[in-house]
């Protein structure tokens, strides 16, 4: 069994705490992503799991065994690096077979295993080439091959696609996902690309300044973000928050933002009004629809992106982005009406700590 567990793991560089008390459990065969902006500690966390750096405090367990004092090789992990990190003076075959050579496996044995791995990654034709002679996608696959041949307990990925151009990135994403479905090896993946995290992972750990802000399935972090930070980080374009207050209107509770009033279901209103706090409202663009029965606003900006158009709507007191299907055109300044399609899609956050107020 290759579960990975981090208990209160901390890493200090001098006086700076890069990782602060991280708790994480990855189940056997699970694909987990550490997601966050640069500097949030995700790469350091990965390096701690790998054993490339020593933890200042806490326990790291792989397969139930405490591995803090073991080298990466002893931990039986394999890693795919940013910039692939292929050995430039060795051929593809030598790159992939290096780990076997270090273990003392003879040339014949290596050739066999390398050929198998190369075949599974469609690299059989380039085994004698040097990394400099390969395309970006091929180099990435050699990096994968180098990790696969280890047959490790855990795969670790350190932003492997961030240097690829958009088309190649999406293609490699699919390959990694397919690889995981095939091999079912416990994997920890680091990225700052939220779309990548959503598409690849069984669970996502959204990190912020050295700690995990939320750890859940893609659906959870998307639809039920734990805080403003998570809500903003996940989803594209980034969510905007509207400050407002709970008021009564005609006997029913509403959330007033400037001239707009969003109807609130009773139970939501009850939860919100506990304590004198200000709130912020967030709604994802795909849940904002243009409908004649809605709140009046003017179009400030319309950005068509192909399958949809993102329309920025402005009214006194706030701005929201609506996602309109297809390539639509709107004249700036034209008047429209909008509303939120379902009450469940209203997300409320307290302004104090930014935590989302659960309304289920």
């Amino acid at each position: 069994m290759a579960e990975v567990e981090l208990r209160a793991v901390t890493k200090n560089f001098g006086k700076v705490a890069v990782c602060r008390g991280i708790d994480l459990q990855v189940a056997d065969g699970e694909f987990v992503t550490l997601l966050g902006p640069s500097g949030c500690g995700k790469t350091t966390t990965l390096n701690l799991v790998a054993g490339l750096e020593d933890a200042s405090a806490g326990d790291i367990l792989i397969g139930g065994r405490r591995v803090n004092d073991f080298t990466p090789f002893e931990r039986d992990v394999a890693m795919v690096f940013q910039n692939y990190a292929l050995y430039p003076h060795m051929t593809v075959a030598e790159n992939i077979g290096f780990t076997l050579r270090l273990r003392g496996i003879g040339r014949a044995g290596r050739r066999q295993r390398v050929a198998e791995v190369a075949e599974s990654l469609e690299l059989s034709g380039v085994l004698d080439r040097l990394p400099a002679q390969l395309s970006g996608g091929q180099q990435q696959r050699v990096a994968l091959g180098r990790a696969i041949i280890r047959e490790p307990q855990v795969f670790l990925f350190d932003e492997p696609f961030s240097n690829l151009d958009a088309g190649l990135r999406i293609k490699m994403r699919a390959e990694v996902k397919e690889l995981h479905q095939r091999l079912r090896v416990t994997s920890i993946f680091v990225t700052h690309d939220q779309e990548e995290a959503l598409s690849l992972s069984d669970r996502i750990a959204v990190m912020r300044e050295g700690a995990i802000e939320q750890y859940g399935t893609p659906a959870e972090v998307y639809a039920r973000p734990a805080s403003k930070y998570v809500a903003r980080f996940i989803g594209s374009p980034p969510l905007e928050f509207l400050p407002g207050r709970v008021e009564g209107e005609g006997g029913l509770p509403v959330f007033r933002v400037g001239a707009a009033a969003f109807p609130l279901p009773l139970r939501t209103a009850e939860r919100l009004v506990q304590g004198a706090q200000t709130f912020a409202l967030g709604v994802r663009p795909e849940h904002v629809v243009l409908s004649p029965a809605g709140i009046r606003a003017t179009v400030r900006l319309a950005q068509p992106v192909g399958p949809a158009t993102f329309v920025t709507l402005a009214w006194e007191g706030g701005e929201l982005v609506a996602r309109v299907p297809g390539m639509a055109s709107f004249a700036a300044g034209s008047a429209v009406h909008f509303q939120v399609d379902r009450e469940e899609h209203l997300m409320f956050f307290d302004d104090h700590q930014g935590r989302r107020l659960a309304t289920e």
Binding site: A78, M79, N83, Y84, A85, Y87, P88, T99, L102, R150
Partner: protein
């Protein structure tokens, strides 16, 4: 880019004149060294010198080995000392440079500064104590003494230059090797060294040149048997009766190998040394 700006600072004719002057002044003396080494004493001692075809000869080169006592031995000594010094400097210096570049040693910065500082020492300061030590050890006038002493200024340079090159190797490659199961020594031997062959070689050439050209310590520490080429040449030039052509031939022979090496490896030398001193 700076060039275009300079171009408008002064007219092109001035640049051409400047470049021409530069070349003539720099190459002129060296050209004369070579030319006069092929000329007979007669031709050189008439005023003006006789440049007719009859004046040119190879006699200086053949004669200098007889005239300059132990010139051949001097070259042999120079070669051996330079070779061994370079070999040891690289063998000891490369791992040290790697340790300082990559192995995250506390106090590495301080050690580095000290190593840099050693470059600033005038040789005379250590020459006197070393002379006394070598005398006690009976090592005066031996090649070994020279090799040991030459290490004192070659080793720091080698460490400094190689450290600069090792720093440029992407960390990811070494990490990948560690994950693949390589020990630190294996990473150094199987990954770092193979991709550093050019800088290693160029640094070796640099150390070789510095050793070959060295005079001061050779003067102090050698007498008869371990004399190096620069020493023989200076003694030869100090004699009362000099055949000028022979003097030049000796000098030409001494500088030829070094010039050849310097030209061959000029890119590496200029890059590594000059930029290593200009950091940032």
């Amino acid at each position: 880019m700076a060039g275009r700006r300079v171009g408008r600072l002064v007219g092109p004719s001035i640049v051409v004149v400047g470049l021409a002057l530069f070349v003539v002044i720099t190459i002129g003396p060296l050209a004369w060294l070579v030319i006069s080494s092929f000329m007979e004493q007669q031709a050189l001692t008439t005023r003006p010198p006789d440049f007719s075809a009859a004046s040119f000869t190879l006699a200086n080169y053949t004669g200098v080995f007889a005239a300059a006592a132990q010139l051949g031995q001097g070259f042999a000594n120079s070669f051996l000392v330079a070779l061994f010094t370079t070999a040891v400097a690289i063998a000891v210096g490369a791992p040290a440079a790697y340790a300082l570049a990559r192995l995250e040693l506390p106090g590495a910065d301080a050690i580095l500064l000290m190593i840099l500082g050693t470059q600033m020492l005038p040789g005379i300061v250590i020459a006197i104590p070393l002379f006394i030590v070598m005398s006690h050890l009976g090592l005066v006038d031996t090649r070994s003494a020279l090799i040991i002493v030459y290490l004192s200024f070659n080793l720091p340079i080698v460490i400094w230059i190689l450290r600069g090159f090792f720093l440029a190797i992407p960390r990811g490659i070494e990490r990948a090797a560690a994950v693949d199961g390589a020990t630190t020594a294996q990473i150094f031997r199987l990954i770092v060294l193979p991709i550093s062959l050019a800088p290693l070689f160029a640094t070796g050439v640099f150390a070789f040149i510095e050793s070959w050209n060295e005079f001061f310590f050779a003067l102090i520490l050698t007498r008869q048997s371990a004399r190096t080429a620069p020493l023989v040449i200076s003694q030869f030039a100090g004699q009362y009766q000099t055949v000028f052509g022979q003097m030049m031939a000796a000098a030409a022979l001494a500088i030829a190998p070094v010039v050849a090496l310097a030209v061959l490896f000029r890119n590496m030398i200029m890059k590594g040394f000059a930029e290593g001193m200009v950091k940032g």
